[in-house]
Protein backbone atom coordinates (compact mmCIF):
# COMPACT_ATOMS: atom_id res chain seq x y z
CA UNK A 1 0.00 0.00 0.00
CA UNK A 2 2.91 2.34 0.68
CA UNK A 3 3.94 2.23 -2.97
CA UNK A 4 0.35 2.90 -4.11
CA UNK A 5 0.13 5.91 -1.80
CA UNK A 6 3.51 7.29 -2.93
CA UNK A 7 2.72 6.85 -6.63
CA UNK A 8 -0.75 8.34 -6.24
CA UNK A 9 0.63 11.42 -4.47
CA UNK A 10 3.33 11.78 -7.14
CA UNK A 11 0.77 11.59 -9.95
CA UNK A 12 -1.72 13.99 -8.40
CA UNK A 13 0.98 16.59 -7.79
CA UNK A 14 1.67 16.79 -11.51
CA UNK A 15 0.38 19.93 -13.14
CA UNK A 16 -0.90 18.10 -16.18
CA UNK A 17 -2.98 15.74 -14.02
CA UNK A 18 -4.66 18.78 -12.49
CA UNK A 19 -5.14 20.33 -15.94
CA UNK A 20 -6.75 17.10 -17.18
CA UNK A 21 -9.18 17.15 -14.25
CA UNK A 22 -9.94 20.84 -14.83
CA UNK A 23 -10.65 20.28 -18.53
CA UNK A 24 -12.80 17.23 -17.67
CA UNK A 25 -14.83 19.48 -15.36
CA UNK A 26 -14.94 22.41 -17.76
CA UNK A 27 -16.03 20.81 -21.05
CA UNK A 28 -19.43 19.52 -19.83
CA UNK A 29 -20.14 23.00 -18.53
CA UNK A 30 -19.28 24.45 -21.94
CA UNK A 31 -21.53 21.91 -23.67
CA UNK A 32 -24.38 22.74 -21.30
CA UNK A 33 -24.04 26.48 -21.81
CA UNK A 34 -23.80 25.98 -25.59
CA UNK A 35 -26.98 23.87 -25.71
CA UNK A 36 -28.83 26.21 -23.37
CA UNK A 37 -27.99 29.35 -25.28
CA UNK A 38 -28.09 27.78 -28.76
CA UNK A 39 -30.74 28.22 -31.43
CA UNK A 40 -33.84 26.31 -30.22
CA UNK A 41 -35.32 26.12 -33.73
CA UNK A 42 -32.50 23.85 -34.97
CA UNK A 43 -33.13 20.11 -34.65
CA UNK A 44 -30.24 18.52 -32.80
CA UNK A 45 -29.04 14.92 -33.37
CA UNK A 46 -28.76 11.87 -31.11
CA UNK A 47 -28.63 12.43 -27.37
CA UNK A 48 -28.72 16.17 -27.98
CA UNK A 49 -32.43 15.86 -28.81
CA UNK A 50 -33.05 14.91 -25.17
CA UNK A 51 -30.83 17.44 -23.48
CA UNK A 52 -33.39 20.15 -22.95
CA UNK A 53 -35.88 17.74 -21.32
CA UNK A 54 -33.83 17.18 -18.17
CA UNK A 55 -30.45 18.06 -16.73
CA UNK A 56 -29.82 14.34 -16.13
CA UNK A 57 -29.08 13.84 -19.84
CA UNK A 58 -26.31 16.43 -20.13
CA UNK A 59 -23.71 14.19 -18.42
CA UNK A 60 -24.58 11.44 -20.90
CA UNK A 61 -24.10 13.87 -23.79
CA UNK A 62 -20.75 14.94 -22.32
CA UNK A 63 -19.65 11.32 -21.90
CA UNK A 64 -20.67 10.51 -25.45
CA UNK A 65 -18.75 13.43 -26.94
CA UNK A 66 -15.68 13.15 -24.72
CA UNK A 67 -15.24 9.37 -24.80
CA UNK A 68 -14.69 9.53 -28.55
CA UNK A 69 -11.35 11.31 -28.26
CA UNK A 70 -10.73 13.47 -25.18
CA UNK A 71 -10.94 10.67 -22.63
CA UNK A 72 -8.90 8.39 -24.91
CA UNK A 73 -6.09 10.96 -25.01
CA UNK A 74 -6.27 11.48 -21.25
CA UNK A 75 -6.16 7.71 -20.59
CA UNK A 76 -3.24 7.36 -23.00
CA UNK A 77 -1.45 10.24 -21.27
CA UNK A 78 -1.77 8.70 -17.81
CA UNK A 79 -0.75 5.28 -19.12
CA UNK A 80 2.05 6.36 -21.46
CA UNK A 81 3.70 8.31 -18.68
CA UNK A 82 3.87 5.41 -16.20
CA UNK A 83 7.29 3.96 -17.01
CA UNK A 84 8.48 6.13 -19.90
CA UNK A 85 7.94 9.31 -17.85
CA UNK A 86 10.23 8.01 -15.11
CA UNK A 87 12.75 6.86 -17.71
CA UNK A 88 12.73 10.24 -19.44
CA UNK A 89 13.57 12.04 -16.19
CA UNK A 90 16.26 9.46 -15.39
CA UNK A 91 14.43 8.49 -12.21
CA UNK A 92 13.46 4.97 -13.28
CA UNK A 93 16.84 3.48 -12.39
CA UNK A 94 16.63 4.93 -8.90
CA UNK A 95 13.17 3.44 -8.36
CA UNK A 96 14.62 0.07 -9.36
CA UNK A 97 17.59 0.42 -7.04
CA UNK A 98 15.29 -0.35 -4.15
CA UNK A 99 14.44 -3.96 -3.29
CA UNK A 100 11.17 -3.58 -5.16
CA UNK A 101 10.06 -6.05 -7.80
CA UNK A 102 9.71 -4.63 -11.28
CA UNK A 103 6.36 -6.34 -11.79
CA UNK A 104 4.99 -4.74 -8.62
CA UNK A 105 6.18 -1.30 -9.65
CA UNK A 106 4.59 -1.73 -13.07
CA UNK A 107 1.26 -2.94 -11.70
CA UNK A 108 1.06 -0.16 -9.15
CA UNK A 109 1.83 2.45 -11.80
CA UNK A 110 -0.78 0.89 -14.12
CA UNK A 111 -3.30 0.92 -11.26
CA UNK A 112 -2.66 4.64 -10.73
CA UNK A 113 -3.19 5.25 -14.47
CA UNK A 114 -6.53 3.42 -14.25
CA UNK A 115 -7.59 5.31 -11.13
CA UNK A 116 -6.77 8.70 -12.69
CA UNK A 117 -8.65 7.72 -15.86
CA UNK A 118 -11.68 6.65 -13.84
CA UNK A 119 -11.57 9.82 -11.74
CA UNK A 120 -11.45 11.93 -14.92
CA UNK A 121 -14.47 10.06 -16.31
CA UNK A 122 -16.41 10.54 -13.07
CA UNK A 123 -15.45 14.24 -13.14
CA UNK A 124 -17.08 14.54 -16.57
CA UNK A 125 -20.29 12.99 -15.24
CA UNK A 126 -20.40 15.05 -12.05
CA UNK A 127 -19.70 18.29 -13.87
CA UNK A 128 -22.35 17.48 -16.50
CA UNK A 129 -24.84 16.59 -13.79
CA UNK A 130 -24.28 19.78 -11.83
CA UNK A 131 -24.44 22.06 -14.85
CA UNK A 132 -27.27 20.06 -16.46
CA UNK A 133 -29.53 20.25 -13.42
CA UNK A 134 -28.76 23.94 -12.97
CA UNK A 135 -29.62 24.74 -16.59
CA UNK A 136 -32.32 22.20 -17.51
CA UNK A 137 -33.79 21.07 -14.18
CA UNK A 138 -34.42 17.72 -12.48
CA UNK A 139 -37.11 15.96 -14.53
CA UNK A 140 -38.01 12.48 -15.84
CA UNK A 141 -37.14 11.71 -19.45
CA UNK A 142 -39.66 10.97 -22.19
CA UNK A 143 -38.02 8.51 -24.57
CA UNK A 144 -37.89 9.42 -28.27
CA UNK A 145 -39.09 5.96 -29.38
CA UNK A 146 -42.04 5.68 -26.99
CA UNK A 147 -42.45 3.69 -23.77
CA UNK A 148 -42.77 4.76 -20.16
CA UNK A 149 -40.78 7.87 -19.18
CA UNK A 150 -37.58 7.22 -17.23
CA UNK A 151 -37.82 8.49 -13.67
CA UNK A 152 -35.06 10.60 -12.21
CA UNK A 153 -33.99 7.64 -10.04
CA UNK A 154 -33.74 5.39 -13.09
CA UNK A 155 -31.85 8.08 -14.98
CA UNK A 156 -29.39 8.40 -12.12
CA UNK A 157 -28.77 4.65 -12.03
CA UNK A 158 -28.35 4.63 -15.84
CA UNK A 159 -25.94 7.49 -15.50
CA UNK A 160 -23.86 5.55 -12.97
CA UNK A 161 -23.86 2.51 -15.24
CA UNK A 162 -22.92 4.62 -18.27
CA UNK A 163 -20.06 6.29 -16.37
CA UNK A 164 -18.73 2.92 -15.23
CA UNK A 165 -19.01 1.50 -18.74
CA UNK A 166 -17.19 4.46 -20.34
CA UNK A 167 -14.44 4.19 -17.70
CA UNK A 168 -14.09 0.45 -18.30
CA UNK A 169 -14.17 1.13 -22.05
CA UNK A 170 -10.84 2.95 -21.67
CA UNK A 171 -9.14 -0.16 -20.26
CA UNK A 172 -7.62 -1.20 -23.58
CA UNK A 173 -6.13 2.26 -24.14
CA UNK A 174 -4.54 2.20 -20.68
CA UNK A 175 -3.23 -1.36 -21.11
CA UNK A 176 -1.71 -0.60 -24.50
CA UNK A 177 -0.32 2.72 -23.22
CA UNK A 178 1.38 1.01 -20.28
CA UNK A 179 2.84 -1.62 -22.61
CA UNK A 180 4.22 1.05 -24.97
CA UNK A 181 5.53 2.88 -21.92
CA UNK A 182 7.76 -0.10 -21.10
CA UNK A 183 9.11 -0.14 -24.66
CA UNK A 184 10.31 3.44 -24.92
CA UNK A 185 11.91 6.17 -22.85
CA UNK A 186 9.70 8.78 -24.51
CA UNK A 187 6.30 9.37 -22.86
CA UNK A 188 5.11 11.18 -25.99
CA UNK A 189 5.90 8.08 -28.05
CA UNK A 190 3.96 5.82 -25.69
CA UNK A 191 0.99 8.20 -25.59
CA UNK A 192 1.02 8.56 -29.39
CA UNK A 193 1.23 4.79 -29.80
CA UNK A 194 -1.81 4.17 -27.60
CA UNK A 195 -3.89 6.90 -29.26
CA UNK A 196 -2.74 5.73 -32.69
CA UNK A 197 -3.83 2.18 -31.97
CA UNK A 198 -7.24 3.43 -30.87
CA UNK A 199 -7.62 5.46 -34.09
CA UNK A 200 -6.62 2.46 -36.22
CA UNK A 201 -9.11 0.30 -34.32
CA UNK A 202 -11.83 2.91 -34.94
CA UNK A 203 -11.06 2.94 -38.68
CA UNK A 204 -11.00 -0.86 -38.91
CA UNK A 205 -14.30 -1.00 -37.03
CA UNK A 206 -15.88 0.89 -39.93
CA UNK A 207 -14.69 -1.70 -42.48
CA UNK A 208 -17.68 -4.04 -42.74
CA UNK A 209 -15.91 -6.79 -44.72
CA UNK A 210 -13.82 -7.52 -41.62
CA UNK A 211 -16.97 -9.14 -40.21
CA UNK A 212 -16.70 -10.71 -36.75
CA UNK A 213 -13.06 -9.64 -36.41
CA UNK A 214 -14.40 -6.16 -35.62
CA UNK A 215 -16.04 -7.52 -32.47
CA UNK A 216 -12.62 -7.86 -30.86
CA UNK A 217 -11.66 -4.25 -31.48
CA UNK A 218 -11.58 -2.02 -28.39
CA UNK A 219 -13.74 0.59 -30.15
CA UNK A 220 -16.51 -1.72 -31.39
CA UNK A 221 -18.77 -1.46 -28.34
CA UNK A 222 -17.82 2.08 -27.32
CA UNK A 223 -21.35 3.51 -27.74
CA UNK A 224 -23.25 0.45 -26.47
CA UNK A 225 -24.32 2.31 -23.31
CA UNK A 226 -26.27 4.99 -25.22
CA UNK A 227 -29.36 2.75 -25.47
CA UNK A 228 -29.74 3.37 -21.73
CA UNK A 229 -30.90 6.88 -22.63
CA UNK A 230 -32.40 6.45 -26.10
CA UNK A 231 -34.38 3.26 -25.42
CA UNK A 232 -34.17 2.97 -21.64
CA UNK A 233 -32.74 -0.55 -21.90
CA UNK A 234 -29.44 -2.34 -21.50
CA UNK A 235 -28.09 -4.65 -24.19
CA UNK A 236 -25.82 -7.68 -24.41
CA UNK A 237 -23.33 -5.40 -26.11
CA UNK A 238 -22.50 -3.91 -22.71
CA UNK A 239 -21.31 -7.30 -21.47
CA UNK A 240 -19.48 -7.98 -24.73
CA UNK A 241 -17.76 -4.60 -24.44
CA UNK A 242 -16.51 -5.37 -20.94
CA UNK A 243 -15.23 -8.79 -22.05
CA UNK A 244 -13.32 -7.27 -24.99
CA UNK A 245 -11.73 -4.68 -22.71
CA UNK A 246 -10.76 -7.41 -20.22
CA UNK A 247 -9.14 -9.42 -23.01
CA UNK A 248 -7.03 -6.45 -24.11
CA UNK A 249 -6.05 -5.88 -20.47
CA UNK A 250 -4.92 -9.48 -20.03
CA UNK A 251 -2.93 -9.60 -23.28
CA UNK A 252 -1.20 -6.23 -23.00
CA UNK A 253 -0.82 -6.47 -19.23
CA UNK A 254 1.01 -9.77 -19.66
CA UNK A 255 3.15 -8.40 -22.48
CA UNK A 256 4.08 -5.31 -20.45
CA UNK A 257 5.01 -7.40 -17.40
CA UNK A 258 7.03 -9.89 -19.42
CA UNK A 259 8.95 -7.17 -21.23
CA UNK A 260 9.55 -4.88 -18.24
CA UNK A 261 10.88 -7.74 -16.09
CA UNK A 262 13.53 -8.64 -18.66
CA UNK A 263 14.32 -5.15 -19.93
CA UNK A 264 17.78 -3.64 -19.52
CA UNK A 265 17.38 -0.30 -17.77
CA UNK A 266 19.63 2.11 -19.60
CA UNK A 267 17.95 5.40 -18.71
Amino acid sequence: MALVRVELVKATKRLRTLIAFAVALGIPALIGVAVHSGDRRRRPDGLFTLTRQTGLVLPAVALSLMSAFFLVVIAAMFAGDTIAGEAASGNLRYLLLRPLSRARLLWVKALIAFVLTWVTTVAVTLSGLGVGVALFGWHPLVLPFGGAPLSTTTLLSHLMLATGYVAVGLTAVVAVGVFFSTLTDSPAGAIGGAVGLYIVADILDAVDPLGVLRYGLPTHYTDAWETLFTRGTTSHDLVAGVIVQAAWLVVFGALATWWFRRKDIAS
Binding site: S89, R98, L100
Partner: protein, 302 residues
Amino acid sequence: MTDTIIEIDSITKRYGEVLAVDDLSFAVGAGEICGLLGPNGAGKTTTLRMLVGLQRPSKGEARLFGRTVVPSTRDLSRVGVLIEQAAFVPHASGRDNLRWWWESTGQSMRDADLDTALRIADLGSAIDRNVKTYSQGMKQRLGFARLLLARPEVLILDEPTNGLDPGEIREIRELLRGLASGGATVLLSSHHLDEVQQICTSAVVMDRGRLVTAGSVADLIGTHGVVYIEVDDAPRAADVLRALAPVRNVAVDGNGLIVSASGPRSDLVAALVGAGIRVETVTAQQRLEDAFLGLIEDKDAS
Protein backbone atom coordinates in the same frame (compact mmCIF):
# COMPACT_ATOMS: atom_id res chain seq x y z
CA MET B 1 42.61 -11.49 3.74
CA THR B 2 39.55 -9.22 3.68
CA ASP B 3 36.10 -10.53 2.86
CA THR B 4 35.11 -10.03 -0.74
CA ILE B 5 32.03 -7.82 -0.96
CA ILE B 6 31.84 -7.12 -4.69
CA GLU B 7 32.67 -9.73 -7.32
CA ILE B 8 32.52 -9.42 -11.06
CA ASP B 9 32.97 -12.93 -12.38
CA SER B 10 33.73 -13.46 -16.10
CA ILE B 11 30.98 -11.03 -17.01
CA THR B 12 30.14 -10.25 -20.63
CA LYS B 13 27.55 -7.86 -22.00
CA ARG B 14 26.66 -7.81 -25.65
CA TYR B 15 24.24 -5.44 -27.41
CA GLY B 16 23.67 -7.11 -30.73
CA GLU B 17 27.02 -6.94 -32.49
CA VAL B 18 28.54 -4.58 -29.93
CA LEU B 19 30.55 -6.12 -27.13
CA ALA B 20 30.30 -3.61 -24.26
CA VAL B 21 31.96 -5.77 -21.58
CA ASP B 22 34.12 -8.74 -22.46
CA ASP B 23 34.87 -11.48 -19.93
CA LEU B 24 35.61 -9.04 -17.11
CA SER B 25 36.56 -10.21 -13.64
CA PHE B 26 37.63 -8.36 -10.52
CA ALA B 27 36.79 -8.24 -6.83
CA VAL B 28 36.60 -5.57 -4.14
CA GLY B 29 37.19 -6.42 -0.51
CA ALA B 30 35.44 -5.06 2.58
CA GLY B 31 36.47 -1.52 3.49
CA GLU B 32 38.26 -0.91 0.18
CA ILE B 33 37.73 2.20 -1.90
CA CYS B 34 38.23 0.95 -5.42
CA GLY B 35 38.38 3.15 -8.51
CA LEU B 36 37.02 1.82 -11.79
CA LEU B 37 38.97 3.55 -14.52
CA GLY B 38 38.83 3.56 -18.27
CA PRO B 39 38.36 5.83 -21.26
CA ASN B 40 34.89 6.67 -22.55
CA GLY B 41 33.24 3.55 -23.93
CA ALA B 42 35.37 1.24 -21.78
CA GLY B 43 32.25 -0.38 -20.32
CA LYS B 44 32.44 1.07 -16.80
CA THR B 45 28.82 2.21 -16.53
CA THR B 46 27.54 -1.01 -18.09
CA THR B 47 29.56 -2.97 -15.53
CA LEU B 48 28.13 -0.94 -12.64
CA ARG B 49 24.59 -1.33 -14.02
CA MET B 50 25.02 -5.12 -14.11
CA LEU B 51 26.39 -5.03 -10.58
CA VAL B 52 23.15 -3.49 -9.27
CA GLY B 53 20.73 -5.51 -11.40
CA LEU B 54 19.67 -2.80 -13.82
CA GLN B 55 21.06 -4.81 -16.73
CA ARG B 56 21.49 -8.55 -17.16
CA PRO B 57 24.87 -9.95 -18.17
CA SER B 58 24.96 -11.91 -21.43
CA LYS B 59 27.40 -14.25 -19.67
CA GLY B 60 28.97 -14.56 -16.23
CA GLU B 61 27.59 -13.02 -13.07
CA ALA B 62 27.99 -10.24 -10.57
CA ARG B 63 27.88 -10.94 -6.84
CA LEU B 64 27.24 -8.72 -3.84
CA PHE B 65 27.93 -10.07 -0.35
CA GLY B 66 28.60 -13.45 -2.00
CA ARG B 67 25.16 -13.70 -3.63
CA THR B 68 24.40 -13.48 -7.32
CA VAL B 69 22.85 -10.16 -8.28
CA VAL B 70 19.37 -10.35 -9.78
CA PRO B 71 17.02 -7.42 -10.47
CA SER B 72 15.43 -6.04 -7.30
CA THR B 73 17.60 -8.23 -5.06
CA ARG B 74 17.07 -7.70 -1.33
CA ASP B 75 20.77 -6.89 -1.03
CA LEU B 76 20.05 -3.53 -2.67
CA SER B 77 18.77 -2.33 0.72
CA ARG B 78 22.41 -2.51 1.89
CA VAL B 79 23.81 -0.69 -1.14
CA GLY B 80 23.86 3.01 -2.01
CA VAL B 81 24.03 3.70 -5.71
CA LEU B 82 24.61 6.78 -7.82
CA ILE B 83 24.66 5.91 -11.51
CA GLU B 84 25.58 8.75 -13.85
CA GLN B 85 23.61 11.84 -12.86
CA ALA B 86 21.30 11.87 -9.89
CA ALA B 87 17.69 12.08 -11.08
CA PHE B 88 14.47 12.88 -9.26
CA VAL B 89 10.80 13.64 -9.71
CA PRO B 90 11.27 17.18 -11.05
CA HIS B 91 7.92 18.62 -9.96
CA ALA B 92 8.43 17.69 -6.29
CA SER B 93 10.65 19.12 -3.58
CA GLY B 94 13.95 17.60 -2.52
CA ARG B 95 12.40 16.56 0.79
CA ASP B 96 9.41 14.88 -0.91
CA ASN B 97 11.77 13.06 -3.26
CA LEU B 98 13.76 11.68 -0.34
CA ARG B 99 10.59 10.66 1.51
CA TRP B 100 8.87 9.05 -1.47
CA TRP B 101 11.95 7.12 -2.47
CA TRP B 102 12.41 5.81 1.04
CA GLU B 103 8.75 5.05 1.76
CA SER B 104 8.10 3.29 -1.57
CA THR B 105 9.18 -0.01 0.00
CA GLY B 106 7.00 0.49 3.05
CA GLN B 107 9.72 1.74 5.37
CA SER B 108 9.10 4.54 7.83
CA MET B 109 11.16 7.73 7.65
CA ARG B 110 11.96 7.11 11.33
CA ASP B 111 14.25 4.29 10.16
CA ALA B 112 16.13 6.50 7.69
CA ASP B 113 19.30 8.40 8.47
CA LEU B 114 17.65 11.66 7.49
CA ASP B 115 19.89 13.89 9.61
CA THR B 116 23.04 12.71 7.89
CA ALA B 117 21.35 12.87 4.52
CA LEU B 118 20.22 16.46 4.99
CA ARG B 119 23.61 17.47 6.36
CA ILE B 120 25.31 16.04 3.28
CA ALA B 121 22.80 17.61 0.93
CA ASP B 122 23.39 20.97 2.64
CA LEU B 123 20.58 22.50 0.63
CA GLY B 124 19.19 24.73 3.36
CA SER B 125 15.69 25.97 2.58
CA ALA B 126 16.08 24.75 -1.02
CA ILE B 127 15.31 21.23 0.23
CA ASP B 128 11.64 22.31 0.15
CA ARG B 129 11.86 23.74 -3.38
CA ASN B 130 10.97 21.78 -6.50
CA VAL B 131 13.94 19.80 -7.80
CA LYS B 132 13.49 21.26 -11.28
CA THR B 133 14.86 24.54 -9.88
CA TYR B 134 18.09 22.85 -8.67
CA SER B 135 21.51 23.19 -10.29
CA GLN B 136 23.34 20.02 -11.33
CA GLY B 137 25.52 20.26 -8.22
CA MET B 138 22.46 20.52 -5.94
CA LYS B 139 20.92 17.47 -7.59
CA GLN B 140 24.14 15.53 -7.16
CA ARG B 141 24.27 16.44 -3.45
CA LEU B 142 20.64 15.40 -3.06
CA GLY B 143 21.61 12.16 -4.81
CA PHE B 144 24.24 11.55 -2.13
CA ALA B 145 21.69 12.35 0.54
CA ARG B 146 19.30 9.78 -0.93
CA LEU B 147 21.85 6.99 -1.03
CA LEU B 148 22.89 7.68 2.56
CA LEU B 149 19.35 7.34 3.92
CA ALA B 150 19.83 3.60 4.27
CA ARG B 151 23.25 3.77 6.00
CA PRO B 152 24.67 1.64 3.15
CA GLU B 153 27.42 -0.92 3.64
CA VAL B 154 28.43 -0.63 0.00
CA LEU B 155 28.52 2.42 -2.24
CA ILE B 156 28.54 2.08 -6.00
CA LEU B 157 29.17 5.43 -7.60
CA ASP B 158 29.42 6.35 -11.26
CA GLU B 159 31.14 9.69 -11.80
CA PRO B 160 29.94 10.86 -8.37
CA THR B 161 31.51 14.32 -8.42
CA ASN B 162 30.12 15.40 -11.79
CA GLY B 163 28.74 18.92 -11.50
CA LEU B 164 30.28 19.59 -8.10
CA ASP B 165 32.61 22.50 -7.36
CA PRO B 166 36.07 21.92 -5.80
CA GLY B 167 34.80 22.52 -2.26
CA GLU B 168 31.98 20.04 -2.72
CA ILE B 169 34.34 17.50 -4.27
CA ARG B 170 36.54 17.75 -1.20
CA GLU B 171 33.53 17.22 1.06
CA ILE B 172 32.53 14.12 -0.89
CA ARG B 173 36.12 12.85 -0.69
CA GLU B 174 36.10 13.23 3.08
CA LEU B 175 32.68 11.62 3.26
CA LEU B 176 33.84 8.56 1.32
CA ARG B 177 36.96 8.24 3.44
CA GLY B 178 34.83 8.47 6.58
CA LEU B 179 32.41 5.82 5.32
CA ALA B 180 35.26 3.52 4.34
CA SER B 181 36.95 3.91 7.71
CA GLY B 182 33.61 2.93 9.22
CA GLY B 183 33.72 -0.32 7.23
CA ALA B 184 31.84 0.63 4.06
CA THR B 185 33.09 -0.65 0.72
CA VAL B 186 33.20 1.77 -2.18
CA LEU B 187 33.44 1.15 -5.92
CA LEU B 188 33.54 4.33 -7.93
CA SER B 189 34.17 5.17 -11.54
CA SER B 190 35.63 8.54 -12.32
CA HIS B 191 37.42 10.50 -15.01
CA HIS B 192 39.09 12.61 -12.32
CA LEU B 193 42.21 10.51 -11.86
CA ASP B 194 43.76 12.85 -9.32
CA GLU B 195 40.60 12.42 -7.27
CA VAL B 196 40.83 8.63 -7.56
CA GLN B 197 44.48 8.79 -6.56
CA GLN B 198 43.55 10.74 -3.44
CA ILE B 199 40.59 8.62 -2.39
CA CYS B 200 41.10 5.08 -3.65
CA THR B 201 43.12 2.31 -2.15
CA SER B 202 42.82 0.12 -5.24
CA ALA B 203 41.90 0.52 -8.88
CA VAL B 204 40.63 -1.53 -11.80
CA VAL B 205 41.53 -0.30 -15.27
CA MET B 206 39.28 -1.23 -18.20
CA ASP B 207 39.53 -0.56 -21.91
CA ARG B 208 37.08 -1.60 -24.63
CA GLY B 209 35.20 -3.80 -22.22
CA ARG B 210 38.21 -5.78 -21.04
CA LEU B 211 40.31 -5.72 -17.91
CA VAL B 212 43.67 -4.02 -18.41
CA THR B 213 44.96 -4.35 -14.89
CA ALA B 214 43.85 -4.31 -11.28
CA GLY B 215 45.73 -3.70 -8.07
CA SER B 216 46.58 -1.15 -5.43
CA VAL B 217 46.87 2.44 -6.57
CA ALA B 218 50.41 2.56 -5.20
CA ASP B 219 51.43 -0.44 -7.33
CA LEU B 220 49.86 1.01 -10.46
CA ILE B 221 51.70 4.27 -10.04
CA GLY B 222 54.96 2.55 -9.14
CA THR B 223 55.10 0.37 -12.25
CA HIS B 224 53.65 2.83 -14.72
CA GLY B 225 55.01 6.17 -13.58
CA VAL B 226 56.55 9.21 -15.16
CA VAL B 227 60.10 10.25 -14.32
CA TYR B 228 61.76 13.64 -14.65
CA ILE B 229 65.50 13.24 -15.40
CA GLU B 230 67.93 16.16 -15.62
CA VAL B 231 71.01 15.44 -17.76
CA ASP B 232 73.93 17.27 -19.36
CA ASP B 233 72.90 16.41 -22.94
CA ALA B 234 69.16 16.17 -23.21
CA PRO B 235 68.77 15.50 -26.98
CA ARG B 236 71.26 12.58 -26.92
CA ALA B 237 69.75 11.24 -23.69
CA ALA B 238 66.33 11.29 -25.33
CA ASP B 239 67.65 9.17 -28.23
CA VAL B 240 69.19 6.68 -25.79
CA LEU B 241 65.97 6.32 -23.80
CA ARG B 242 63.72 6.07 -26.86
CA ALA B 243 65.65 2.97 -27.86
CA LEU B 244 64.71 1.23 -24.62
CA ALA B 245 61.74 -1.15 -24.73
CA PRO B 246 59.95 -0.08 -21.49
CA VAL B 247 60.01 3.59 -22.52
CA ARG B 248 56.76 4.78 -24.04
CA ASN B 249 57.37 8.46 -24.41
CA VAL B 250 60.18 10.97 -23.95
CA ALA B 251 59.71 14.73 -23.98
CA VAL B 252 62.67 17.13 -23.86
CA ASP B 253 62.22 20.09 -21.50
CA GLY B 254 65.37 22.22 -21.45
CA ASN B 255 68.05 20.13 -19.74
CA GLY B 256 65.41 17.76 -18.49
CA LEU B 257 63.51 14.83 -19.89
CA ILE B 258 59.98 13.78 -18.99
CA VAL B 259 59.98 10.03 -19.45
CA SER B 260 56.95 7.79 -19.40
CA ALA B 261 58.03 4.21 -18.81
CA SER B 262 57.16 0.99 -17.10
CA GLY B 263 59.69 -0.94 -15.04
CA PRO B 264 62.33 0.24 -12.55
CA ARG B 265 63.75 3.76 -12.83
CA SER B 266 67.23 2.42 -12.17
CA ASP B 267 67.20 0.79 -15.63
CA LEU B 268 66.80 4.22 -17.23
CA VAL B 269 69.62 5.70 -15.19
CA ALA B 270 71.90 2.76 -15.97
CA ALA B 271 71.28 3.13 -19.70
CA LEU B 272 72.09 6.84 -19.62
CA VAL B 273 75.25 6.38 -17.56
CA GLY B 274 76.28 3.52 -19.84
CA ALA B 275 75.99 5.92 -22.80
CA GLY B 276 78.30 8.40 -21.06
CA ILE B 277 75.57 10.88 -20.13
CA ARG B 278 75.78 12.60 -16.75
CA VAL B 279 72.59 12.30 -14.73
CA GLU B 280 71.99 15.25 -12.39
CA THR B 281 68.52 14.55 -10.98
CA VAL B 282 65.93 11.77 -11.09
CA THR B 283 62.46 12.63 -9.76
CA ALA B 284 59.45 10.33 -9.86
CA GLN B 285 56.26 12.11 -10.84
CA GLN B 286 53.79 9.87 -9.15
CA ARG B 287 50.54 10.57 -10.89
CA LEU B 288 47.82 8.03 -11.49
CA GLU B 289 46.89 9.89 -14.66
CA ASP B 290 50.28 9.10 -16.20
CA ALA B 291 50.09 5.50 -15.08
CA PHE B 292 46.57 5.23 -16.52
CA LEU B 293 47.53 6.74 -19.87
CA GLY B 294 50.56 4.50 -19.98
CA LEU B 295 48.45 1.42 -19.40
CA ILE B 296 45.97 2.37 -22.10
CA GLU B 297 48.76 3.16 -24.55
CA ASP B 298 50.41 -0.19 -23.76
CA LYS B 299 47.13 -1.93 -24.43
CA ASP B 300 46.67 -0.08 -27.72
CA ALA B 301 50.21 -0.99 -28.79
CA SER B 302 49.66 -4.66 -27.99
